[in-house]
Amino acid sequence: MRTKTLTLSRGLLLTFWLIGGLLLAFILLPLLQLYATQTPASLVHIAAMEEVRDAIWLSLVAAFVTAIFAGLFGVPLAYLLARTTFPGKALVEVIVDLPLAVPHTVAGIALLFVFGRTGIVGASINALTGFQFWGTIGGVIVAMLFVSAPYTVNAARVGFESIDPRLEKVARTLGANPWSVFRRITLPLARRGILTGLTLTYARSISEFGAVIILTYYPMTAPVKIYDLFLQFGLGDSSAMAALYLLVALSLFILFRHLAYGRVIPGGRQ
């Protein structure tokens, strides 16, 4: 949609485009440069390494599972924050946003105390079920979930807040009980906010490094493997894997983004 900007001066807009353009170039240049250093042969060479493929696959799967957990636990909380007021709501909001402010290595160490070998949750779950968070995908998911869950809660909350409460009220008068209203009205109308949140959580998860490397160095996720290659073999192999991983991760991100934003409900208000 074209917007008329009668009141804005051409000079101001041009200047702002020049300044903003610098930021865009700052973002794009390093990423393009990453590919400029690669040849098809170097990408094929790195993709042929099994542990590279395993690391990328682990990152994608763990991020996907993380998004599912974020949805299961984050959506109810988002609904409460959007629709109700309660004592201590401000505190709950701070708790939700806390992971955004915690340095990720700090998060990793804190998680170690809870999900590690001697951690309260880690040790008791291990004693009860034999499952261990160290050295498995479980630890990777725990680390990813901690740093990325706020995105789902906050975006889903915006989605719920955008729904006119009268739609839920009128649905009640039409014979639907509260659970049915949530399933048939609230959830479909908040769909876009929730999917946006899940996409952001997913994107944050596939890029997580600090918390993962401290909680479980093995199995290696893609970012950890890239760091490992960098330490062992220097820039050559690590930059090739970086380029490959970026390609895969960005493609999936664009796909999910399209699924979340692209299919706007025809005629929907959002």
Partner: protein, 349 residues
Amino acid sequence: MNGIAVKNVSLNLGAFALRDISLTFDLGETFVILGPSGAGKSVLLETLAGFYHPDRGRIEIGDRDVTTMPPEARRIGFMFQDYALFPHLTVAQNIQFPQRADPVRVGQLLARFGLEHLTDRKPVNLSGGEKQRVALARALAMDPMLFLFDEPFSALDARTRDTLRGELKTLLHQLGIPAIFVTHDQAEALMLADRIAVLRDGQLQQTGTPAEVFNAPANEFVANFVGVETLLPGQIVAASDGIVSVSVGNKTLRVADRGVRGAMSVLACIRPEDVALAHRTSSDSGTNNQFAVRVVSVSTFGPFFKITLDAGFPLVAYTTKQLYLDLELSPGASVIASIDATAIHLITI
């Protein structure tokens, strides 16, 4: 089957409260709750619908006590201002939403409301009138015992509003389902209501037919709210032959006696449309009050002229443009104002 009864309902929500509301009305009747913003009109409707449970009192619909029933069990069709159609569902899916709706009925409703060509449209692509019909069809799909309308016309332009109001009134008449409207618009109340309840600060001020409420307001607030322009404090000085004499300033009003007894201080209510203006006094002035008046100011709104007069007391009259021109009613002009003794209502104070 009985009608609908609200018995001594009280509810305190902090910002809004309902205080000891009692209303009864018959099936097939259209009831209008009239009051200014903040009077608690919408809270009353939402309490009837079951979104709030009253602190005290009972609500009965037909033979059922619904006081503590959840909204989904009440079978009340709630119509919001913008109709609250579900934006992610088509017209047909909206009408199919109620769990009681059966497919045959949905087809009949689509046909009845002339919506067949719109079945697969989303609400955003509908006109105001189409939205109203979809919302009505959707509510009818669950066989409501009662319709509630929360300011259904206030967001529409004047022309659409008149059309939709007419259509709705006809439809409600055909269906025979009782309806309660909430509005702050006295003209709307007059057009729709079989009976009116005036609400202020969560308390009922008066309940009655439109004629009763408009011509015989129970108190000063109702009088002001239903468009009585002249409210004169006065004293009853004599009563004889069915006529009460009320002294207002240095003038005396003759008022048809409707049983005002024992009270000395009154408010005399004169509706502006009951004040007739002419060049000279008429001879058959048996039950009429006639005063020589001077025009103070003239304003025009819509099809009428509002003339503020000095009759020894302030008096407001409405005239047509034709009369305004014939009588040359510019400020300073002198004319005769007559008010029938039966057109004056006395509020005891």
